[in-house]
């Protein structure tokens, strides 16, 4: 285990804790940038989708993992992002580079508008309200037909920036690089949130609203900011999702999508940026793996699993239950434990990550 000798407070503030750490992430970036040169179009597409899910996951992570609020309605923000970016381009003729952040901001605005009247709700009540909003957004999309194309949905044209084409079917590698670039930017923003007062304010309302307000944190405002930032991220993911799918309608952004994003961050590990990425990898890789296994089983035993619909949802649910039962910290938690095991070898103790029961909490204040 390496020890860093600190002579100033900067190492505690910096993004990377040492040179090795920085090197690892630089290497990861280079590998990710080089991927399109080695993979075929199908895999680049899957990789792009993984990154889009990861952005959406980070969005929900800010809300659930950092601020302790629940949302079962993040498909609504995905939908807002996707529809806004296409409408802004087709109806207003805005170029993509302005339409993308604008779509994010529109989603953020929706998030803040939802947050302000609902800040008194906690836990299950907030979950049900956000669920209702996602259903409502589906209906609004159908009703606002002149703008959204109603049940027929919309077609997203290829993304063009400064004359360069980033089309899903024509230039998938370009699209991949664009999404990768955006993802890296958003990860930096997320990291900055974590190391500044706003991130600590998020954590404080997650852990104890009473003492957060005693520390001078404006609980209502902080929740609104958390919702806003979260839906901004998700809106950006939605915008890319729309362009990736090229055609979408109200059914694309249903409740299942909200639950998928939630599943993603729980499986990945709530409370960490890594978790969003691990979760995204799981939910894009798993369908591929399932269909591969299905073919394999069919060839070996001539049992056709295609005859059993819903097997995918079943496996997803099973994974979710197993993760919650055996590794509540998700894949990232498992990775942390493994890493600590080797770092401290042979001094690792089994209970090192055991959570302690918290002491008595202050009685609810009126």
């Amino acid at each position: 285990m390496r020890t860093i000798f600190k002579t100033s407070y900067d190492p505690d503030i910096n993004l990377f804790k040492d040179r090795f750490h920085r090197l690892c992430y630089a290497a990861l970036c280079i590998v990710l940038i080089l991927f399109p040169f080695f993979l075929n179009e199908y895999f680049i597409g899957e990789l792009t989708l993984t990154l889009i899910w990861a952005i959406a996951g980070m969005g929900l992570m800010i809300l659930v993992g950092q601020s302790g609020q629940v949302s079962l309605g993040h498909s609504a923000f995905m939908a807002t992002g996707a529809y806004s970016v296409v409408i802004l381009q087709s109806k207003l003729g805005l170029p993509f580079i302005f339409a993308l952040p604008a779509a994010g901001l529109i989603s953020a605005l929706l998030g803040v508008l939802i947050a302000l009247p609902t800040t008194r709700l906690h836990g299950i009540y907030l979950a049900i309200l956000t669920l209702a909003i996602s259903v409502l957004v589906e209906d609004i999309i159908v009703l606002a037909e002149p703008l959204t194309g109603g049940v027929n949905g919309m077609f997203a044209s290829d993304i063009v920036i400064f004359g360069i084409n980033f089309g899903r079917y024509s230039n998938i590698a370009n699209l991949y690089w664009l999404v990768l670039f955006t993802t890296i930017l958003l990860v930096l923003v997320y990291k900055n949130i974590l190391r500044t007062p706003i991130g600590r304010a998020f954590a404080s309302i997650r852990d104890s609203e009473v003492s957060a307000s005693a520390m001078g944190v404006n609980v209502v405002l902080t929740k609104a900011v958390a919702f806003g930032v979260s839906s901004f991220f998700t809106g950006i993911a939605g915008a890319f999702f729309g362009h990736f799918a090229t055609a979408f309608n109200y059914e694309t952004f249903n409740v299942i999508m909200s639950i998928t994003i939630l599943l993603m961050i729980v499986v990945g590990g709530v409370g960490s940026i890594h978790g969003a990425f691990f979760g995204a990898i799981v939910i894009t890789l798993l369908p591929v793996l399932i269909s591969f296994l299905r073919d394999f089983i069919f060839q070996g035993t001539s049992i056709n699993l295609m005859a059993f619909p819903g097997i995918e949802t079943g496996i997803f649910s099973l994974i979710l239950i197993l993760v919650i039962l055996f590794e509540p910290r998700g894949i990232y938690g498992a990775w942390l434990k493994t890493r600590t095991y080797f770092e401290l070898f042979p001094l690792y103790r089994k209970d090192m990550f055991k959570r302690q029961k918290s002491y008595l909490k202050t009685e609810r204040l009126r």
Binding site: Y9, D10, D12, I13, V189, N192, I193, R195, T196, P197, I198, G199, R200, A201, A203, S204, R206, D207, S208, V210, S211, A212, S213, A214, M215, G216, V217, N218, V219, V225, V229, G271, R355, Q356, S358, Y359, L360, K361, T362, E363, L365, R366
Partner: protein
Amino acid sequence: MILSLENISLNFGGIKAVDQVSLGIKEGEIFALIGPNGAGKSTMFNIISRYYTQSNGSIIYQNKSIDKLHPHQLSKIGVARTFQNIELFPNSTVLQNLLVGQNSSKTSNFLQEMLFLPSVRKAEIDRRIIVEEVIDFLNLQPFRDKQISALSYGTRKVVELGRALTMQPHLLLLDEPASGLSAEETTDLAFWIEDIKKIMGITVLMVEHDLNLVGKVADRVGALVEGNLVAIGSLKEIQANRKVVEAYIGT
């Protein structure tokens, strides 16, 4: 007077939790509120820190009424408090908890913070320096990077005191700072509270059951009995007061 309460009353349904209490806290003193369980001490605290709104009376802090303020606005004007049942942020480190105390004095907004402008880094270092002073004062160095959930009860109490100190208050409200502490920890606490008054110049208002601690540090003591402030004076005078004795032991 740094803080004066004028005819404060609060009813919960038919129960008068606090009844017509008037009290003045002098700048730079340590004032202890004592009283049997259910006397209204914590309710008084929650009224002063604005979690409850009194049904009558007003609170004057530094010559201004604070009746209309919300709890989160108090830190800006220099009032900090601790809680009887520790209310730390258990999933963060001691350092992070202490840094939260500095949140109210920040000058950057969340957009600047998300971009991490150079001014944000500078402010972050300034905050850290203040926090490190508190860590030195309370000997919390070994626990700086420990998660709160990994600390013992006594240490958590100290961290909670530290978090209130990082807010650099003028008036510090301590809700039973010694409850659940060992005799040794209480002795340390007594020294710290005295130093908070003498070195940092902070006025302290505390609720405490441990009369040894009260006797060691408090300049004046007030006794609350069933929502009424029955006596104010030194601990000796209070202990000799018939009403107080009656309340504790019965007639």
